[in-house]
C-alpha cells in the first residue's frame, strides 16, 4: 500500500544522468555541425585528414587554408560560444535561485557594465593588443571583478549581505559604469566603432584557442563551484532563516554564489561583450522543463545555454560575418520573455 503511493517521478540521480547525457549529446552534435556550417565549405575528408595530422603532432598537410579555417577560426569560435553560453546561463540560474526571483539576470550584478568599462578603456588607450592580444580581455575581466567587489561592499552591512540592497547596488553601480562607458565613447573618436561592436556582443573578436582555454578554465571552475552550492540554493527557497535552520551557512552561500556568478560572467563578458537574454531566458526554460531543483537545473541549463548560443552564433554568421550575436539573442529572447511573462501560471 505504501509502495503504491510512492511518486512516479524517478530519483534525482536518474533524471540528472538522463538530462546530462541527452543534452550533452545534443551539444556535441551542435558543436560539430556549427563548425561544419559556414560561408566557406570545408570538405569532410580535409577535416578528417587534418585531424589525423593534429593528433600526430604534424603540421597541417593538404589544403591547409581550409583546415586552418576549420581548426583555428570556426572551432574556437564555436567552443567560445559554448563556454560563454554555459557561463551566462549557470550564472543566471544561480542568481535567480539566490535572489529567489526567476527574473534575475547575470548582468544584474553590474559586472557586465564594469567589464564593458574596462574593455572600452583598453580600446581607447590602445591597450587591447598587449599581453599577446588578450589585453582587452584581461582588463575587462579585472574591472568586472572590481565592480563585483564594489557591489558586494555596498550591499553588506554588519557582516551580512542583504539581497534587496544587493540588487539595488548592482543596478546603481551598473548605471554609473554605463555612464562612464558612454562618456568614453563620446571622446573615443575613431575607436568608437570598435567599442560599439564589442558592446553589442559578438563571438568573433577573441576566437583564439589560448583565450578559449583560459575562459574555459575560469568558467569550468566557476560553474563547478556554483554547483557545489546547488542544494543550498534549494534550501534557500524556503527563506533565509529556514535555510540557516537547515544547516546552510547563508552568509557564505550568498557571498560565494555572487562571487562565482560574477567571476564567470566577467570572464564571458570580457571575451564576448554583452550578450543579453541568454542568462535570463535559458534558466527559465530549463526550470519549466526540469523543475526547480538546482542540482538538475544548473547542469541542464548550462548545456542548453551552450547549445543555444552556438546555434544563435551560427545563425548570426549566416546573416553576415559582422552581425553581432548579442543583437540576435535579444531579438529572439525578448519576445520569448514577453510570452513567458504573460503565460505565467502564478504570481512569482
Amino acid at each position: 500500500m505504501t509502495a503504491a503511493r510512492r511518486p512516479a517521478l524517478p530519483s534525482l540521480l536518474v533524471r540528472l544522468t538522463g538530462a546530462v547525457t541527452g543534452l550533452g549529446v545534443f551539444l556535441l552534435v551542435t558543436v560539430v555541425l556549427a563548425a561544419y556550417i559556414g560561408a566557406e565549405r570545408v570538405p569532410l575528408p580535409v577535416i578528417l585528414e587534418s585531424a589525423r595530422d593534429l593528433l600526430a603532432g604534424r603540421p597541417l598537410a593538404g589544403d591547409s587554408r581550409l583546415a586552418q579555417i576549420f581548426w583555428y577560426l570556426r572551432l574556437p569560435r564555436v567552443a567560445m560560444g559554448a563556454i560563454v553560453g554555459t557561463a551566462l546561463t549557470v550564472a543566471g540560474g544561480s542568481l535567480q535561485g539566490l535572489l529567489m526571483n526567476p527574473l534575475a539576470d547575470p548582468y544584474l550584478v553590474g559586472v557586465s557594465a564594469g567589464a564593458a568599462l574596462g574593455a572600452s578603456l583598453a580600446t581607447v588607450l590602445h591597450f587591447g593588443h598587449t599581453l599577446g592580444g588578450a589585453g582587452r580581455c584581461v582588463v575587462g575581466f579585472a574591472s568586472g571583478a572590481l565592480t563585483m567587489a564594489l557591489v558586494i561592499w555596498l550591499a553588506r552591512s554588519r557582516g551580512r549581505i542583504h539581497r534587496d540592497a544587493f540588487i539595488l547596488a548592482g543596478v546603481v553601480v551598473g548605471s554609473f559604469m554605463w555612464a562612464l562607458v558612454t562618456l568614453l565613447m563620446s571622446i573615443s573618436g575613431q575607436d568608437l566603432q570598435t567599442i560599439v561592436f564589442w558592446l553589442m556582443g559578438s563571438l568573433s573578436a577573441e576566437a583564439d584557442w589560448r583565450v578559449v582555454a583560459v575562459v574555459g578554465a575560469i568558467t569550468g571552475f566557476g560553474c563547478l563551484a556554483l554547483y557545489a552550492y546547488a542544494r543550498d540554493l534549494n534550501l534557500l527557497s524556503l527563506g533565509e532563516e529556514q535555510a540557516r535552520q537547515l544547516g546552510v551557512e547563508t552568509e557564505a552561500l550568498k557571498l560565494w554564489v555572487i562571487v562565482f556568478a560574477a567571476l564567470v560572467t566577467a570572464a564571458a563578458v570580457s571575451v564576448s561583450g554583452v550578450i543579453g537574454f541568454v542568462g535570463l531566458v535559458i534558466p527559465h526554460i530549463a526550470r519549466k522543463l526540469f523543475g526547480p531543483d538546482h542540482r538538475l537545473l544548473l547542469p541542464a541549463a548550462g548545456l542548453m545555454g551552450a547549445a543555444f548560443l552556438v546555434w544563435a552564433d551560427t545563425l548570426a554568421r549566416g546573416i553576415g560575418e559582422a552581425f553581432p550575436v548579442g543583437v540576435l539573442t535579444a531579438l529572439l529572447g525578448a519576445p520569448f520573455f514577453f510570452y513567458l511573462l504573460k503565460t505565467r501560471p502564478r504570481a512569482a
Binding site: G97, S237, G239, G247, P292, D293
Partner: protein, 417 residues
Amino acid sequence: MLEAVSLTVGYGAEPVVHDFSLSLSRGQFAGLVGPNGSGKSTVVRALSRTLPPQRGRVLLDGVDIYRMPARELAKRLAVVAQDSAVAFDFRVLDIVLMGRSPHLGRFSLETARDYEVAYRCMELTQTAQFADRPVTGLSGGERQRCMIARALAQEPEILLLDEPTAHLDINHQIEVMDLARRLTAERELGTLVILHDLNLASQYCDHLTLLAAGRVLASGPPHEVVTEDRIRAAYGTHVQVRLHPTTGRPYVTLLSRLPVAPPPTRQTRIHLVCGAGTGVHLMRRLRQLGFAVSVGVVNVEDTDQIEAEALDLSRVEEAPFSAITDEAHRRNCELAQAADVVIVTGIPFGPGNLRNLEAAARAQSAGRRVLLIDDPPISARDFTGGKATELQGRLLEAGAEALADEAVALAELESLP
C-alpha cells in the same frame, strides 16, 4: 535537553527579550505564549542559532549552539517557521527531502535510506498522497503538515514550532496540534510550540511560559500560568478563566470591554431571584429590553452568577454551595425593595436558598409586584419538605401572579414603561 540561560536578545541596541530562561527535555511538550510583539518569535530565532543573544547562552546537552556548525545543529534541532512560503514550485517530496540535507555531504545525492525516512515522515503527517504535487499548490494546512514532515525528516531531538496553527481553520488547528503532541510522545521529541491561542496552549501543553514585553511573566504548568491576573497583566485585558469541564485545563473566555447592553431605557426596575442557571436567559433579555436589572442571591461559580457578572448587574453573591447568610439575605431584601417588580424563576428550593422566597415575600408586603414563573411546578422542585410550596401559596394569596413560563413573563413585562 535544550536550555536557554538568561538570554537577552534583540536586533539593534535595544534588546527585545530580557533574561529569558527555559529548559526543554525530550518527551516534553511545552508552549510559549504572549501578546503580539512580546518577543516569542525572537526567542525561537535565538534558540535556533539564527539570532545570537547579546547576553546568556543556549545550550544543547551542555554545548553552546552558537559554537556548533549549523549543519550539526540541524541534525538535532528542527524549526517549523510560521511563514511557510516557498519561492519555487518544488514538489512536496523535494521539500521533505530537504530535511535530509544536514545529513548529506555537499555533493552527495539522497540515498535510498533518505527517501525511506522522507516517505515515513510523509506518512506520519499524512502528506504522502501529495508527494508529487507542487508545494505551492497546497492549502495552508497541507503546507504546514508538509513543513512538519520536513522538520521530522531531519530526525531531530528538539522541535520548535512557531505558531503552527496561525491562519488555519479549527479542524486543521486540532489536526496539527494532535500531530505535534503524538510525535512528541512517539519520537520522544522535546517540543516547544509558540501559540497565539491561550486555550490551545492550555489544552495541549504540559508546561507554559508566558512572555510579556520581552520578559517571562510566568512559567509552569498551565493552571499556574493561565490565570485571570496573569493574563490581565500580560495582555491588559479582562478575561474569565475556568477549568474546562472536559479537559480539566484552564479555559479562557474573553470578556468584551464594550457594554453588553445599552444603559437602561425604561423606568421599571426588575429584581430577579434566580440560581442554578434558571435566570441566564431572562436577565440578558431584560437588559436588552432596556430594564434595569438586579440579581440575588446567587452562588459564586453558578451559571447565573457568571452571567450576572458578565452583564455587570447589581447582585448579591454567596460562596459556592453555601446557604444564604443573614448578611446576604439582608442585602437581597434591599435590592428587591429597591425594584418595582420582583421575578422568582423556577429555582429548585432547598433549605439553603429558601430565604430567596422570603425576600420576595418581604418585597410583596412592601408593595412590590411579584411574578412567579412556575416552570416546572413548585411541587417538582420543592426539596424543603413542603415549606417552599407553602410559602409560594401564601405569596399567591397575597396577590403574586403565577406565570406558566419565561415567555409569558417576558410578554407580560414588555408592556411596562
